[in-house]
Symmetry: C2
Subunit: 284 residues, 2 copies
């Protein structure tokens, strides 16, 4: 669903594009969401940590800030995203130890078991075969090391006042992402995906964002500037794909804005999974 970092980890189409405005949106929302998403994620000094699909570094700055002394490596397929990520980290976490590499998730330039921990946020949603990706990542993760995955789920969104047009906007974006090979509803699947990819000790936790008028910073920072902004950013593509009419889409967007108004409420759930890479089985 791309409620966050857009990372084109592979050559598939990236639904959000790479405009400057998009980069700013990703940065803003990361501030608002950082506490929710990063609580509990801190790596010991000296540990080798790989962020897969770092994009413009919106999560990398929090990894660096929350794990001083960890040896962070960040990879992405986009050179320009990496350049933005490097600049962002330099500005926000001066002195952070981050190495940046342009690389594809399925062809990582690292030896086996090179990392103690992997961090993958808002990446699987864009992949045609997320299970294959999770399986491939195990090669560079040492046995006993952990993988942390964060994804959203557009099907988790509900709001007041109810609007079929608003619902259609969310569904339209999900169909667009699906047509590009992704899955905007992947959050609910993290547990089975990790299980099928061979990870052990899987713990999945829902991370809920709920906004109403008593939480004005979150109404602005999440409902308006993060969630609705995702949909406003794909209007042209949705219309071009024939997934909505301009009139229906604009009414849906207007109705979504009503959920951020005086008597509106809005609810969205992210999923955060932590799992362990088991030792190779004796038979393999």
């Amino acid at each position: 669903m791309s409620m966050g970092e857009g990372r084109g980890m592979t050559a598939i189409g990236y639904v959000h594009g790479y405009s400057d405005r998009e980069a700013r949106r990703l940065g803003d929302q990361a501030e608002v969401l950082a506490e929710l998403l990063h609580t509990g994620t801190a790596y010991p000094p000296g540990s080798r940590v790989l962020e897969v699909g770092c994009g413009v570094g919106a999560q990398t700055v929090h990894l660096a800030a929350n794990s001083p002394g960890a040896r962070l490596v960040a990879v992405d397929v986009s050179e320009s995203s990496l350049a933005q990520g490097r600049a962002r980290v330099a500005a926000q976490v001066p002195g952070a130890d981050v190495a940046w590499h342009r690389a594809d998730l399925f062809d990582l330039p690292f030896p086996d078991a090179a990392f103690d921990h992997l961090f993958v946020c808002f990446v699987l949603e864009h992949l045609p075969d997320p299970r294959k990706a999770l399986t491939a990542l195990r090669r560079v993760l040492r046995p006993g090391g952990t993988l942390t995955v964060i994804e959203g789920d557009h099907g988790s969104a509900f709001f007041h006042p109810y609007s079929a047009h608003a619902r259609a906007v969310i569904d339209g974006q999900a169909r667009l992402q699906s047509a590009a090979g992704g899955n905007a509803l992947i959050g609910r699947e993290l547990q089975p995906l990790l299980n099928q990819a061979g990870y052990h000790d899987i713990v999945v936790r829902p991370l809920t964002v709920y906004t109403d008028r008593t939480r004005p910073a979150l109404v602005n920072g999440f409902t308006r500037d993060t969630f609705i902004a995702v949909f406003e950013s794909v209007r042209k593509d949705v219309l071009a794909a024939g997934l909505s009419t301009a009139a229906d889409w604009d009414r849906g967007i207007a109705d979504l804005h009503r959920t951020a108004a005086a008597d509106g409420t809005f609810h969205y759930t992210f999923f955060k999974a932590v799992a362990v890479n088991p030792p190779p089985s004796p038979r393999s």
Copy 2:
């Protein structure tokens, strides 16, 4: 949505009926949900607490257990529910100080400001005018006293694997409840309802239940025995109302059970609101 206590607080139809099996279901689920719903709810010794719509006492036992010394009063419109509630509390919280009254929410036999705190759980979902009910309750709550409201929201349910038939089952039950004058999607509306009813200092928190194979007790206790059980219990009524066919309904129920199987996941959100009854305004 009646994910829990059914309390026929007024004379409107109660969608779940009052069978023995229903009473057992309500008791079982209350155990599983008690910690989630009651955390943070404890009243000081000597405080006067009214539970509105206590039903068969599934929440009353937790109120009594968590607030020893509070003077609890429990009301419901159903004599037989009250009898069951009285027996349940006597068995599970011996010595608890609970007074039981048969009463209608809109005609409570108590003086103004008789209570320091009100507790209302899974009641508003059954009322045609929940705002009017919340407004009426302010009479018996002292200025400065608190109201706690807990409701579910069927629109918050999502699951893996996805199934349009399962979704239709949930929507069918919601339409049945709606036809009876209720609202199975009321959780998301608590904040505006309380605001419109004149309460102050409203804090609404989502309480999320997420189940997957790593949480087998919750898969059984919540997904199967609480959530799916709600729908299994209304099959006859849904079919009689023409809201589904037997084949579609049974397929939807089977698909819901798949969400409780090996690679399934299930997500549901309750909402808990706490608000303060303000002093009467100078002009009123």
